[in-house]
Subunit: 219 residues, 2 copies
């Protein structure tokens, strides 16, 4: 578990907390580290959650399959990212989405009660961690608003352009790598894969962008 302290140090949750203090907190918070093979579920829609999770290694998707098998991908979780925070509030219901590993992954579980309630011992960082938690969920929130912005576009092209240009801004480059293949990108933007593929090729022919696999370059 200690091996991941450098990873944890760079997370939003432990921002501003030193290595030693993180080690201390790992035991103080009774952190657990679970591993998942590619394709395994980390969380399932409808479950109750009382832990805040941090991805130590691997990649995850937050998604949801409806009754007819239509998949909708809400988002992607990379190393160091927090997730599950939105469902640990007392009156929050059950999870609305599945979380599934798209690569072999390791996940930290922190019991929210221990994270939030200040304890008497050496852990003087609870207050800071709660603040960090607030800022982290703020960021998630803004990300969701951003996604709603993509989704509010009427055409597949507009959805693609708003998503890709935002991603270029985030990755600070006109050449970007997406965490999705075509089907996943279509599920993320809630459009038909073949129609999207078609549109992408049209846009390429018009000189708006280039792509190869999941690497895109905007012009």
């Amino acid at each position: 578990m200690k091996e991941f302290v450098p990873v944890l140090k760079r997370t939003k949750l432990f921002s501003g907390v030193g290595d030693d203090d993180i080690s201390t907190m790992l035991s103080c918070l009774e952190a657990r580290l679970l591993t998942y093979k590619k394709g395994e579920y980390v969380l399932r829609q409808g479950e109750h959650l009382s832990d805040i999770l941090v991805l130590a290694e691997g990649r995850l998707h937050i998604q949801r399959d409806d009754y007819w098998g239509n998949r909708s991908i809400l988002g992607h979780i990379g190393v160091g990212e927090i997730f599950g925070e939105a469902y640990v509030a007392p009156e929050s219901g059950t999870l609305l989405n599945d979380v599934i590993s798209v690569e072999d992954s390791s996940v930290f579980f922190f019991d929210v009660k221990r994270v939030i309630s200040t304890c008497s011992s050496a852990c003087r960082f609870h207050t800071m961690v709660v603040q960090n938690l607030f800022f982290a969920i703020s960021e998630k929130n803004r990300g969701l608003v951003q996604k709603l912005d993509y989704m509010s576009r009427r055409t597949t092209r507009e959805k693609l352009l708003s998503y890709l240009s935002e991603e270029a801004k985030k990755q600070n480059s006109a050449s970007i790598t997406l965490p999705f293949n075509r089907q996943q990108l279509a599920d993320y933007l809630s459009v038909d894969r073949s129609a999207m593929s078609n549109e992408l090729c049209k846009m390429r022919d018009e000189g708006l962008l280039e792509f190869e696999k999941n690497r895109f370059r905007l012009f």
Copy 2:
């Protein structure tokens, strides 16, 4: 300002805090109360924000107009609701949406620095308020995920049904009142108003629902 203490007491932000303590905090936090006429902007897209806001009276819409005048309504704010919390984090950029009053409204402004940093004096509630803030933003988060669920539906009918049935669940009744007129509902669900109106009438003819103005009844 004191007149709104009963309102504040019932907000998520001050949940668990007594009347007297709220009064104390109002001055400790240097709260400001501003009023807006119907149609006025409370916040504008692109602005920086360093306050957490609470609606004391009236109704607000969170929305966004693009360059071509297409309006997208992100959500609705009722009395006692918190807003702006997602944009007060240090690295959060500028606001992505406008907030506009749809009725004459009064809004509390709380400087986030004062809310978050524990002060030495009588205000022993900062810790609790930060926790409340976390829970409140959690709820916002789940609401956004819910909205993404509506928006991920492919057809106008599916969007309407998922929104209306979720609203019925929230209002705990098959008879619900929406905070939107037709155009606003269309802007909220990102569909064409006339197509939506058409679809609503078809659904009514099929016996799925009834409506009159912004009151709906599901069967």
